[in-house]
């Protein structure tokens, strides 16, 4: 008896399914992100494509990000509000493909917070989750370097890809309100950044605290937007003066930023930062306690040879625990310069 045509078809479908599953699994992260970028670009018309694409080394576009609302500091690229539903889904799929699940969740929570500023401010046109911009610098490639930028008020992701390497620095994450409820759930977009730092501070002994806690106020980020390419003198408590457990806590705190990017890039980054840990400093400025379930009201900084993290509560709004700006940098590799320099 010959094989029935139906069986042949079944076998063919099974083959396609299995092989496509295998290729997906074998596909590298960068390849996945390149596919997502090309899918997004294919959904745009010519004019939109021109708006979204920049040269890879366009320094002006690289630096065109801020903590401020887009009405105050104009962003370039394509705004989400100017995309149709299909295009917008593809844009968010691209951002999501470049980030870890928790990283993408953070981004969504920051945008939801901004949506609250809009609705609670009587439909204030300055805010809202429509007011975020995407841009692509260079040609999406598995080999050559290129960048995705995504941001708006309180958010600036600058993600550089170079082969399998992925670099998230410089990135600004911020939150106002830093605590809100959405669909009955309490959300703190940057709650872990606050809680883990406080836990580390509390794990320090008296002598260590004397070094870690600086005796002065710090009103804002030192290396915020526009402050690219600067390496300030580190201060505070050096991790060599910490015990093994405290160093692990410091690394766990750092992971809140390092793990925003997709898993394989995050793993490489964490390995680099772990190797640096003994050269890493932790400095705290401000109140050393916080109300339970709320963010700290103190500034802190984590700095190492390849890292600057700043957490700066903002006076604006009246409650320091409700408004925070944070900065994540690698002075040797912002915008992937360290990888792409010839």
């Amino acid at each position: 008896m010959s094989v029935s045509p139906m069986r042949k078809i079944h076998a063919a479908i099974a083959f396609v399914l299995v092989s496509s599953a295998l290729t997906t699994a074998a596909q590298t992260a960068t390849a996945r992100i390149v596919t997502a970028a090309n899918t997004f670009l294919s959904k745009l018309d010519e004019k939109q494509r021109q708006s979204v694409l920049f040269a890879f080394d366009d320094e002006k576009q690289r630096a065109r990000w801020s903590n401020l609302p887009v009405s105050m500091v104009a962003r370039a690229g394509l705004g989400l509000k100017d995309l149709n539903a299909d295009q917008r889904a593809a844009a968010m799929a691209l951002v999501s493909s470049a980030l870890s699940p928790r990283g993408f969740e953070k981004v969504e929570q920051i945008m939801e917070g901004d949506e609250l500023l809009k609705t609670k401010g009587g439909n204030n046109p300055m805010f809202g989750k429509d007011l975020y911009f995407i841009s692509i610098l260079g040609k999406p490639s598995e080999k050559d370097p290129w960048m995705v930028q995504f941001g708006g008020h309180h958010l600036a992701l600058n993600i550089t890809f170079a082969g399998e390497r992925g670099v998230l620095t410089p990135t600004l994450t911020a939150a106002q309100p830093a605590l809100y409820t959405l669909d009955g759930k309490t959300v703190r977009p940057l709650g872990q950044e606050s809680d883990k730092a406080l836990a580390l501070l509390n794990a320090l002994d008296e002598g260590q605290r004397k070094h870690a806690v600086l005796g002065f106020q710090t009103a804002d980020l030192v290396l915020g937007p526009g402050q690219d390419g600067k390496t300030i003198q580190p201060e505070g408590l050096k991790a060599t003066a910490m015990n093994e457990k405290q160093r692990a806590m410091l690394l766990d705190l750092i992971s809140e930023w390092a793990n925003i990017i997709h898993e394989s890039a995050a793993a490489a980054r964490m390995a680099e930062l772990k190797a640096d840990i003994n050269e890493t400093w932790f400095a705290w400025s401000g109140p050393t306690t916080a109300d339970p379930g709320r963010n700290i009201t103190a500034y802190y900084r984590v700095q190492g040879p390849h890292l600057v993290i700043e957490y700066a509560p903002q006076k604006l709004g009246g409650d320091l625990s409700m408004h925070v700006h944070t900065m994540y940098r690698d002075p040797t590799n912002d915008y992937g310069r360290g990888l792409t320099a010839k």
């Binding site: 401020l68 609250l116 204030n124 106002q176 106020q217 009103a219 804002d220 030192v222």
Partner: protein
């Protein structure tokens, strides 16, 4: 001020408290210093909040025409500069403007404008340990100050400490700088610290140790004050008569050795991280140690036990040495080499100083003039130590550093003149009064 507060409150109401996105009633003033060997570059970002911007704009736009002219920009920048004070090692500096950049008036009104001012101040030549102080009093009522410095591009410069007051309006930057005269052109110099395995690293820390003693006048003053009565005998409760040359030599050797053992122990313990002591109390104790040895030089407090005292205070001085070494940021293994090199440097310099001053002390102790030297020296050390105690304990400003450093600056000449005087004095005394014990000149030249 009241008007500003009302304005701030009004804006808060209009925007609604959660829905405001810009700076309100603060005037953010972020300053970053960048230190080079012969100059310091300072860049300031001034961002007036919405509620204070109109006052700031009014002060810039002096003719009130709503436009900020080039002349008004530079005038304003000069006014900002006049609200600052910048000094190095206690000497006031004259900064000169390099660039000014002003935003649009509209941007400033919204609290978004950033004024950028850059200036440079030349640094006069100085020792390897330098202290820059920058004070910013510009618009102090509304100001939120930030002060920082960049990691120096020049690797011969290393930041040792940054201190600020609570508002960050006063910023003190301590740094060390390898001297060009010590680092021959093309040699690794301080860079060698990073490449520890090379012999170059060893020599640069050895030199650092030497310089630390040569420039660390407080350590030397302690030792010298303790050595002052070494050639003397105690009669009753006073210093009187003089000991034999051999006895004086042995005593001096004992004191120096005891001091060395003391500070070596704590230097090693602290540098390896076994003990950690805050810097300020140590600095105070060092000043106290000078006071004690100065008092001992006036009236014998612990005759015959100088070596024990030297060892005890040596323990404290060692902790201060460790702080200097700690600032080099060496790893553990590098530190072991570092301690050895640093200690040898300290020892060498100590021996040079002792060898230079000892013949004079022994010669002069045979004359009546020695009483004047002993009392004068002890008073000088005592007053200096009191000044340091006041400075380090109460944060008082005293001219002690300037005076002591001034004296130390001419140390070689002072030592030479002292030697000539003592030689002359001894020759004269020798002829006038018979010495109870002859001093054979060869014993002196040996030192």
């Amino acid at each position: 001020m009241k008007a500003r507060l009302i304005a701030a409150a009004a804006i808060g109401l209009v925007l609604g408290v959660p829905a405001s996105a810009h700076r309100l009633d603060e005037y953010l003033q972020a300053t970053i210093l960048s230190v080079e060997k012969d100059h310091v570059q300072v860049s300031m970002r001034l961002i007036p909040g919405v509620a204070v911007s109109s006052a700031v704009i009014a002060s810039i736009d002096s003719n009130g025409d709503g436009v900020i002219s080039e002349a008004e920009k530079w005038d304003h920048a000069r006014r900002v500069l006049s609200d600052l004070s910048l000094s190095v090692d206690g000497t006031g500096l004259r900064p000169r403007l390099v660039s000014v950049d002003f935003p649009q008036v509209e941007q400033m009104k919204e609290g978004l404008g950033e004024i950028h001012i850059e200036f440079i101040a030349d640094l006069p030549p100085g020792g390897p340990r330098r202290r820059l102080i920058l004070e910013n009093h510009h618009e102090s009522r509304s100001a939120a100050y930030l002060m920082n410095c960049l990691v120096p591009r020049d690797r011969d410069i290393r930041i040792v400490a940054q201190h600020r007051n609570e508002q960050q309006s006063v910023y003190q930057l301590d740094y060390v700088q390898a001297d060009a005269s010590l680092v021959s052109p093309g040699s690794e110099g301080w860079r060698g610290v990073h490449r520890w395995t090379s012999a170059v690293g060893f020599t640069s820390v050895f030199r650092l140790g030497m310089r630390h003693i040569a420039e660390g006048t407080d350590h030397l003053l302690f030792l010298l004050a303790l050595l002052l009565p070494a050639p003397l005998l105690v009669v009753g409760s006073r210093w009187a008569g003089f000991a034999s040359v051999r006895r004086s030599l042995v005593r001096i050797l004992k004191i120096v050795t005891a001091f060395t053992i003391g500070h070596s122990i704590t230097l090693a313990l602290a540098a390896l991280g076994f003990v950690r002591v805050p810097g300020r109390p140590i600095e105070v104790l060092i000043a106290v140690s000078i006071l004690v040895s100065a008092m001992h030089a006036l009236r014998p407090l612990f005759p015959g036990r100088e070596a024990g005292i030297a060892a005890f205070f040596g323990l404290i001085h060692g902790l201060a040495f460790a702080t200097t070494l700690g600032h080099l940021g060496l790893g553990r293994w590098e530190r072991v080499c570092g301690i050895l090199a640093f200690n040898l440097g300290i020892e060498t310099m100590q021996l040079i100083v002792v060898a230079a001053i000892m013949p004079s002390l022994i010669l002069l102790s045979r004359t009546r003039a020695y009483g004047a030297l002993r009392i004068g020296g002890a008073l000088f050390a005592g007053i200096a130590s009191l000044g340091w105690i006041a400075e380090r304990l109460l944060g008082a400003h005293t001219p002690v550093d300037i005076v002591v450093n001034g004296v130390a600056h001419h140390a070689v000449w002072i030592a030479a003149v002292l030697f000539l005087i003592s030689l002359a004095g001894w020759l004269l005394t020798d002829q006038q009064t018979a010495l109870s014990e002859p001093i054979p000149p060869p014993a002196l030249t040996r030192t």
